[in-house]
Amino acid sequence: MSRGTATERVVPTPLVATSRQRRLISGDRIFHAFAYAAAALIILIALVFVVAVVIPALPAITKFGLGFFISRTWDPVRSQFGALPAIYGTLVTSAIALVIAFPIGLGAALFLAEDARLRFLRGPLSFAIELLAGIPSVVIGLWAFFILTPLMRDNVDPFLQHTLGFLPIFHGTASGYGYLTAGLVLAIMVLPIMIALSRDVIRAVPRALREGSLALGATNAETIWSVILPYARVGITGAALLSLGRALGETIAVTMVIGNTMQISSSLFASGYTLPSVIANEFTEATGTIHLASLFYLGVVLVLITIAVNVVARLLVWRFAGSEPMVA
């Protein structure tokens, strides 16, 4: 400005804030308060939830103690309860889901993020993923119940038995209901999460790394294998564990195809049970105190498994992360 002089320019900004600055500061305070309140609320909700599950479970916790985790008996008539078959079923079905969804999800994510040639397919694929994510689980369950189980019984299971029948996991008669079908349904349900998260993580890999690798003469495949995946593996691990979390808690679709049998079987064709399915099945008509408390105890077990998965995830992330840059 013309009226400004050299001396005026060195005058320090006045210590008293202008009204505009004051407004900003109070806006800051409000924002801080809001953010802290929101964070506290989340912790509070989590705590209230845990307490609300643990307190009704107390009669069963005092009666069965840690034996609940290793007992195979679930007998409402004699009030004897144990969670092992349901824990086993939950872990097995979630593991199947992850084994199927991880490679497929990662492949689809790499295609979406990396492949430049079939660009026109990206739109339809992204749309399909969003559609899949939006289908309510009860609808997927109904589809699985009416279409997938007969298909598994008449085609997939006999094929597996014929080709891989020497493995104990493919022994026994296949009814179409069981761990394998449930795991497959879960895989379909967690695929959208797996794909979307992995895609974002892969896209976040710095362009310089990619181009550097290509400039050094690496092929596309080599670049993906030795540069992009190692860089993104923390994020991909995170995606896989979030998918696992979803699979552990899924209820209704699994209940429709798992066969709901309290047993532990090495065959993936056999009927089983999962923790959420037992709760969903028996909660409404459970009248005895211990029966109801045991169902809440199953809820506690599920919460513990979820926490364990999260802890493992943290450890993996720390281990992988090390000095490497972290994505996600």
């Binding site: 209940t255 049998t261 099945n281 909660f283 459970a286």
Partner: protein
């Protein structure tokens, strides 16, 4: 559910055609002459899913008849129904098994709650066997127990062949299907097996959920029915209404008198009439004597407080139940439930007459003879 809205509309139409009714008492709801109509009230109930299609149809019909009374019934399950009644968040509860001593104590003592039989249901054994039509397969109490205990594993088992001469049963594995959710249907079925088979009684017992020895579970009557239809060689116990409505093939069962019967609503009523002394503590009517009795049969119960705090509501409630156990029973047949036998209707009405508000009896009808 099972197309309840259609059933409801159908019943509504039927009601309009047939609501003349013959006067039998002084309760206006049941057509009594000169008595005042039921007071305006909005009633809420919660409980069992098993009788829901019948209650839904009947309450709808009642509302068409007396528009001032609306009934909202939530089929949240017997356990939840009992809890809500105990907490007094509903006006009445419904349960497939009457409230036991512990539950009654929680609700204020055994003398504070009136429990009446609301409807009667029966079950059959539906199966999926090529070329074996309804009623052709004959099952006895011991073969049913053997199949569900897992000791009879194949359709060509000699034990099955012994009862089915003239029928060639295939060399095919038996797939047992049972309910995975806690249910009154399971209670009645396991109550039956516990009564007719000592091994079942000592190893499994009776309950709304039990520890099954074999087979796979499906959630709800619909899923059990569909699983049986989809699985060759499958067998399972299904509420009769579902068997009839979905055209399933069902077995002929050997009853207490040794005759083979195909379960039917009439067979259920016949079975129930052979137990004149049913009470909320002695309520089992499985394996009933009588030539035509359907063996796997049971009541579903309604619960209300004996002392009604709100006189208007209480009056509307007992009027409704009085109608439900008499005239309302005609709606049971439409949805393939069975009519209550007359001795139970008498007993229900006698129980309803003990309901009071401020010391005054709310239902003033003559007990039918």
């Amino acid at each position: 559910m099972r197309g309840a809205p259609i059933v409801v509309v159908a019943c509504g139409v039927l009601l309009l055609a047939a609501c003349g009714g013959t006067p039998t008492g002084t309760n206006p709801s049941t057509g009594g002459a000169g008595a005042p109509p039921p007071p305006q009230a909005s009633l809420t109930g919660a409980g069992a899913t098993f009788p829901y299609p019948f209650y839904n149809a009947a309450f709808y019909a009642y509302n068409l008849k007396f528009s001032q009374v609306s009934v909202n019934y939530q089929s949240v399950g017997s356990g939840a129904g009992i809890q809500q009644l105990t907490k007094k968040t509903v006006d009445f509860g419904a349960s497939d098994v009457p409230m036991n001593a512990t539950e009654l104590a929680a609700a204020g003592g055994s003398d504070t709650v009136v429990q009446i039989a609301g409807t009667l249901g029966t079950e059959g054994l539906a199966y999926n066997l090529d070329g074996v039509a309804t009623g052709k397969l004959k099952l006895t109490p011991d073969t049913i127990a053997g199949i569900f205990l897992g000791t009879i594993k194949n359709w060509n088992d000699p034990a099955l062949a012994a009862d089915n001469s003239g029928l060639t049963l295939p060399n095919q594995a038996i797939s047992v299907v049972h309910r995975s959710d806690g249910s009154g249907t399971t209670y009645i079925f396991t109550d039956y097996l516990s009564k007719v088979n000592a091994t079942w009684n000592s190893t499994v017992g009776k309950g709304k959920s039990v520890s099954w020895k074999t087979g796979q579970g499906a959630k709800g009557n619909e899923a059990v029915a569909t699983t049986i239809k989809q699985t060759p060689g499958a067998i399972g116990y299904v509420e009769l209404a579902y068997i009839i409505q979905t055209n399933m093939t069902q077995a002929s069962l050997k009853n207490h008198d040794g005759s083979f019967v195909t379960p039917s609503p009439e067979g259920a009523t016949a079975a129930a009439s052979n137990f004149p002394d049913v009470t909320p503590t002695q309520f089992s009517i499985v394996d009933a004597p009588g030539k035509t009795s359907s063996p796997i049969t049971g009541y579903s119960w309604l619960m209300l407080y004996k002392d009604q705090a709100d006189k208007t509501k209480g009056t509307a409630l007992v009027d409704l139940f009085d109608w439900l156990v008499t005239e309302g029973q005609s709606y049971a047949v439409n949805v393939h439930y069975s009519k209550l036998p007359s001795n139970i209707v008498r007993q229900d009405i006698a129980s309803l007459k003990t309901v009071t508000s401020g010391g005054a009896t709310l239902l003033n009808v003559a007990t039918p003879s």
